[in-house]
Symmetry: C2
Subunit: 199 residues, 2 copies
DNA sequence: ACCTGAACACCGTTCAAGT
DNA sequence: ACCTGAACACCGTTCAAGT
């Protein structure tokens, strides 16, 4: 079932991966799928785990921090190719083996790059969440259109209505997605490492 | 239209805020709503902006950093009351006046708490994204169930399969949501302030 | 010019009934 | 015991036709 779902997603996107479509693909009725999966959310979770299997292990070159950023970037890139999956899975707490392996290795790299254990334990969550949220947000069908709409909404107001936004003007939209993503991970890792959780 | 949508959402949740339901509420057909809104995404954006209007301005006590954290916490709390809205809006680039006012004030507080201008411009995005993603994730109907499933998935593997997860065991799930959320914002603000964007 | 009934093209999930 | 046809209860969006 998951194999068919993967193929349909790759060929036509997650939107087409519906119980009914999959059932049609398997020449049966939609009810039959409920023998294999509990519901659509679980199906999406299974698809995510399958997708994470393709994540090639980091090349283990450079320092731990560099490897960590590479792993997070690779995760973001995989998710960016399937934004609606990222969106769907954001509300899940994935528990597939590949997901757990990924979190385990991110946690290891975070520790290796100097984060105290409690910081790393809490921090790995926000790094993964950021990767997923970024993919969900930037992958929307109409993302560029929305960004333009937002920019014009700012421009369309009388000057002075949003003083800090106005002042930041040049910086707000600058940089490529990759630059901003790398910087976000660097900043988060720095903050995670330096900020102690409450005792 | 937005007013009716707000009422239905408050009474029965965003799930019930559908074009058809709203049309029924207004004694007309669903087609009529398309005179007022372009599509469902835009409707959700309008609902978000309406919701943000209720965000009381920060009490302006304490340092800029404390005010910033208070504002981010207030945002997270509002969104947590409507997790499916957070989920839906995560894929949008909101451009309503109340949203822009909020971002403007967050940006101001970030600057006032010591972040250089380029850092603040890029950083405000990741703070807002974190608030939305947290609400979307933790607000799911079955979130606790999923968390338990994840925990048991880790417990159910042979020891040693996920060494770092095992070692972190105690810390991984510790703390309340509020504690973790506050820490995440503190860590992110620290990282944003200390990490320079690429020139 | 403005609005909308009805249709198009779908959904997830359940459950009684078949094999 | 295992599977599934058919039904239930919905969706968003479009467009031809009315007022």
């Amino acid at each position: 079932v998951v194999a068919v779902a993967m193929r349909v997603m790759r060929e036509e996107g997650l939107e087409k991966v519906t119980m009914r479509r999959l059932a049609g693909e398997l020449d049966t009725g939609p009810a039959s799928l409920y023998v294999y999966v509990e519901n659509t959310a679980e199906l999406h979770g299974a698809i995510l785990d399958e997708l994470l299997a393709e994540l090639t292990p980091p090349p283990a070159e450079g320092g731990a921090r560099e490897q960590l950023i590479a792993a997070l970037t690779a995760l973001t890139e995989v998710l960016l190719r399937h934004p609606s999956l990222a969106r769907s899975v954001l509300t899940l707490r994935p528990s597939g083996p590949h997901y757990l392996r990924l979190v385990d290795s991110l946690l290891g790299l975070l520790l290796a790059s100097g984060a105290p254990a409690p910081n790393a334990a809490w921090g790995v969550d926000i790094l993964v969440q950021h990767a997923m949220a970024t993919a969900a947000e930037h992958g929307g069908d109409a993302y560029d259109g929305e960004a333009a709409r937002q920019e014009s909404a700012i421009a369309g107001t009388e000057p002075g209505a949003y003083p800090n936004l106005d002042a930041a003007g040049e910086h707000l939209m600058s940089g490529t997605g990759a630059q901003r993503s790398r910087w976000a991970f660097e900043a988060m890792i720095a903050g995670i490492t330096a900020t102690a959780p409450p005792a």
